[in-house]
């Protein structure tokens, strides 16, 4: 009885840890995708800048991060409540 409940707690704790670790990945990914000068690989020569692709890229990534944030907010607050 005790074993299973402590095991469950352990699983929950591990789950929360995974979620928080994953949540750290989001801003890092956001920095990589939206800020890194490496991205100039896409836009090296501004004669060739494709205006609409840049717009779709930035706003699209932005939107994806918002959706990710919605999921993470739900996961993290649930995890915290359980703890």
């Amino acid at each position: 009885m005790n074993d299973t409940s402590s095991e469950k707690r352990d699983i929950k704790r591990r789950k929360l840890r995974k979620i928080t670790e994953f949540s750290a990945g989001i801003p890092i990914l956001a920095i990589c995708l939206l800020v890194s000068p490496l991205l100039n690989g896409f836009t090296t020569d501004f004669d060739q800048v494709n205006f609409s692709s840049v717009i779709f890229y930035i706003f699209g990534t932005w939107g994806i991060f918002i959706i990710l944030a919605i999921f993470m907010a739900r996961l993290l607050t649930n995890g915290v409540d359980e703890n």
Binding site: S23, I26, V35, P37, N40, T43, F51, I55, I66
Partner: protein, 886 residues
């Protein structure tokens, strides 16, 4: 057609409704009906105070001039918010547990509640925010001017700005200084700000929808227009892009107004979770139409139109009066909300870190008891608000509103960004020190002023044009915008790089070479371990009376609140008067004070009151951070090893006991077999004689059968004794307790031994003192003890005239009965051994007993809760029986 009068009326109605909303919200909050006021939506909307007039007007201007660049200003906050779990959550938790009132308070509190730091950050914030407030006034007057261009009225921007500034100051004073405790939420203001957030979003999106679907044929057509009109002057993800994202990410944390709405006004941590996606979404919605509006403006408006005002001028040019009015209201909301929140945040900082310490210093010299701190604090907040908005107005007049909106905003961002290294250090770096923070921020501040703030005046203020171009005194490596001869083409990137880089370096190096004070280390511990710590330890000193503290509390918290707080503690301590000063009371007081006057001042007030700056031992233990953990761990290990050693020792003892018991058992068995063997041998031999020799005469026959009989009796007696002893030892014996006098028992015993006494010609002396004492005991068992002692006294006595003296006394609730004989006595070494089973004295010749008598006596006395001792004696042996009286 819209004219300036209609605009003024719309403004007045709008402002009136803001006042009404704020008033209603305050009233609801006062009644405790928080409802929607306490919702994550209101919280998220209030954060959108980030989008000022600079966003509303300036981002379109920036897009028209620099293409995508403006987006970086919104991506920075987005990144900070999606990563809320790692930074903002900690910041908010610290703000709540430490009752932080502002960013200056946070920095000061973390670095040993240093007021110097508080003052530095406050000055930095005021200096950084003044141009920003001026910027809002400027955008408001510019937008007003749009409506007066074609009218004949005599429009004066300075007068308009004055009216706006006065109105904002009034609103802020009315709703921003209702509660003294800055930690209590400003529900009125926050609700009004949330309403303004909706207005500006709706206004901007309306204009956006109008340009995309009203002025062009939908998104794809708009995309073509944008591609043709929007200039792409730079690589998209250039160093400037990185700089702007960094600056905006910093600003969302460090700007006083953002800190105010995110940290101070936060009422539940989970609201942050909602804001983590809702605020980026708000920003996205604010940005999505910027490029279309900019492109349309560039396309349809005459060349030379101010791109900053496209949001307003496009609907006007298209003769859409209502849309223009809505757009105007949006801009108006953006500007006013920013000014209101900034003024509240800055006034809290100014009054807590500058006015109040000065006032306390002045009052201390005069009469510390006389004034009410609350009144002073409220008055200083109100005056600060007026002054801060006044500074903004002054800056606006002085600069004449010439600079492009965006550049002022970025310079202000960089100013407050200087707090960032110290702030990150405060939250995550244990070794960050006050000195490090002071020197770091000062360095950053100086470089910012030199390379960014002063050059923004274009050579009109302190730094001349020559200095800007050639460096001070012609020293080219000190040119403000090309420090150390390194040419970074963009002046902003240049200023950000040098100020933040040197700030961080100085902060780290100074922190490493300086030693933090105990209070700094204590605060570091509290900040860094904010998750998982509940109580705070606050220094408490001697020599302060509860009355002193009560007076102080009344002065700061107000009579009513102080009374409630002290009553609560009195009740807890079960007292009718003022409570005793406990750590808990001091801690609560300091936190409550901190909510009103900031951590540094609260701390100095409390320490002044208790007259003791020292930190307690408990604090120091708490400060010893990792060391504590290591010590705890090793202490635990040590404890475990001690336990193991103890267990091992116990096992050893148990083992020894077992061995001893086993030996005893063997000895016992050998004794018993020996004792049994002797009579058995006699019985067997004599019975064999009887059996084999049939010629025995009658006398012989009788003699042998008597021996057999005696030996059998002896055997039976021995077995009886062994059985009795084992019963007594196991505690299974049943006692028949009754109350009777001691002499009755003694007489029974003497009667039983009468024959023995008579046979040995003995003399018995019987002292009858105390023998009338009544005792509760088992009379048969006790007399058995007495009989045994009396018999022994004569049996082993080789004196010609054996004598036994029986006497009695009472001592310590015990009745002591002594049996003193004049026999050979017992050597001291054998005083305890004689009570062992089968023990016979070494110096005795008499071997008729089996050596169980005294062992049985001792067990009987144990069962009767008494004892039997062999005492030292000059002549003969002296046994003492101790019988409990109760």
């Amino acid at each position: 057609m819209l004219n300036s009068n209609i605009i003024v009326i719309i403004c007045l109605i709008y402002v009136g409704s803001l006042f009404a909303v704020a008033g209603l919200a305050e009233r609801r909050a006062k009644k405790g009906k928080l409802g929607f006021l306490h919702s994550p939506l209101i919280y998220t909307l209030s954060i959108s105070v980030y989008c000022t007039a600079w966003t509303f007007y300036g981002s379109v201007g920036s897009a028209a001039l620099n293409g995508f660049e403006f987006l970086a200003i919104y991506l920075g906050p987005t990144i900070v918010f999606v990563g809320w779990w790692w930074f903002l959550r900690k910041l908010v938790r610290i703000g709540r547990t430490q009752r932080i009132t502002s960013i200056a308070d946070l920095i000061s509190s973390r670095y040993g509640k240093s007021n110097t730091l508080g003052v530095i950050v406050t000055l930095l914030a005021i200096l950084g925010s003044t141009p920003y407030i001026a910027l809002q006034l400027q955008s408001l007057t510019l937008s007003f001017a749009v409506f007066t261009e074609n009218s004949n009225s005599n429009y004066n921007p300075i007068i308009t700005a004055l009216f706006i500034a006065a109105g904002l100051a009034l609103f802020t004073i009315l709703f921003g200084t209702r509660n003294l405790d800055a930690n209590e939420r400003h529900h009125g203001v926050v609700t009004a700000i949330a309403l303004e957030a909706i207005v500006k979003l709706v206004a901007f999106i309306s204009v956006g929808i109008f340009v995309v679907w009203g002025l062009s044929d939908g998104p794809s057509n708009m995309l073509d227009i944008m591609e043709k009109s929007i200039p792409i002057t730079n690589q998209v993800f250039s160093s400037r892009w990185v700089t702007l994202t960094f600056l905006s990410a910093t600003a969302i944390i460090c700007l006083p107004r953002m800190f105010q709405v995110i940290v101070v006004e936060n009422s539940a941590e989970k609201h942050l979770a909602t804001a983590s996606w809702a605020f980026p979404l708000y920003l996205l919605l604010m940005c999505i139409f910027v490029l279309p509006i900019a492109a349309t403006g560039l396309n349809i408006l005459p060349e030379g139109s101010n791109p900053d005002l496209f949001v307003l001028t496009i609907p006007l040019a298209e003769d859409r009066g209502t849309l223009a009015a809505l757009a105007f209201l949006g801009g108006f909301s953006s500007a006013t909300s920013m000014v209101i929140v900034a003024a509240i945040a800055l006034s809290t900082m100014a009054s807590n870190h500058i006015v109040l310490p000065l006032w306390l210093y002045a009052v201390q010299k005069r009469n510390p008891e006389s004034d009410d701190v609350r009144t002073v604090l409220l008055r200083s907040r109100r005056i600060s608000i007026a002054c801060i908005i006044g500074f903004g107005y002054l800056y606006f007049i002085l600069t004449g509103g010439t600079s492009a909106l965006a550049s002022i905003g970025l310079i202000a961002f960089l100013g407050v960004a200087q707090v960032l290294p110290a702030l990150i250090g405060a939250l995550f770096w244990r070794n960050a020190t006050r000195k490090g923070a002071i020197y770091g921020i000062s360095t950053g501040f100086i470089i910012w002023a030199y390379s960014s703030f002063l050059p923004s005046f274009g050579g009109d203020f302190i730094l001349s044009t020559d200095t800007l171009e050639l460096g001070p005194l012609g020293l080219s490596f000190l040119r403000p915008q090309a420090l150390f001869g390194i040419n970074i083409s963009d002046p902003l990137t240049h200023a950000v790089f040098w100020s933040i880089f040197l700030n961080t370096i100085v902060f780290i190096i100074t922190s490493l070479i300086s030693t933090p004070s105990p209070l700094e280390r204590l605060q570091a511990q509290k900040f860094i371990n904010v998750f998982g710590q509940k109580s705070n330890i606050t220094p408490v000193g001697d020599g302060v009376t509860p009355e002193d503290l009560f007076i102080l509390a009344q002065r700061i918290l107000g009579r009513k609140d102080a009374q409630i707080l002290f009553d609560k503690f009195s009740k807890k301590q079960g007292r009718n008067d003022l409570p005793e000063i406990t750590f808990e009371l001091m801690e609560t007081l300091e936190q409550k004070f901190a909510g009103s006057v900031g951590a540094a001042t609260a701390h100095s007030m409390i320490t002044q009151a208790v007259g003791n700056q020292s930190i307690t031992v408990e604090d120091l233990i708490a400060v010893a951070d990792e060391t504590v953990q290591v010590i705890e761990y090793s202490a635990r290990l040590e404890e475990q090893s001690k336990e193991l050693t103890k267990a091992a020792a116990e096992l050893r003892i148990a083992n020894n006991k077992l061995t001893e018991l086993s030996t005893q058992k063997d000895e016992f068995l050998s004794h018993v077999s020996h004792e049994l063997r002797t009579p058995m041998t006699s019985i067997r031999s004599f019975s064999e004689i009887l059996q084999s020799n049939k010629k025995l005469d009658k006398d012989q026959l009788k003699y042998f059968s008597t021996i057999i009989n005696d030996e059998s009796k002896r055997l039976t007696r021995l077995l009886d004794e062994i059985l009795d002893l084992s019963f007594l030892e196991s505690g299974q014996v049943k006692l028949n307790i009754s109350t009777l006098r001691l002499n009755e028992i003694l007489r029974t015993a003497l009667k039983s031994t009468q024959q023995t006494i008579a046979n040995s010609n003995a003399l018995l002396e019987f002292n009858e003192d105390f023998t009338n004492t009544e005792i509760q005991t088992d009379p048969d068992r006790l007399s058995q003890v007495f009989i045994n002692l009396i018999t022994n006294a004569f049996k082993y006595n080789d004196n010609n005239q054996p004598t036994l003296k029986i006497s009695c006394e009472i001592k310590d609730a015990f009745l002591l009965v002594s049996f003193q004989d004049n026999g050979p006595g017992i050597p001291k070494a054998e005083h305890t051994i004689i009570f062992e089973k089968f023990t016979r004295l070494s110096n005795t010749k008499n071997t008729s007993g089996v050596g169980l008598g005294l062992a049985i006596s001792q067990e009987i006395m144990k069962n009767l809760h008494g004892s039997i001792l062999c005492l030292e004696s000059k002549i003969g042996a002296n046994f003492q029986v101790q019988i409990p009286l109760n």
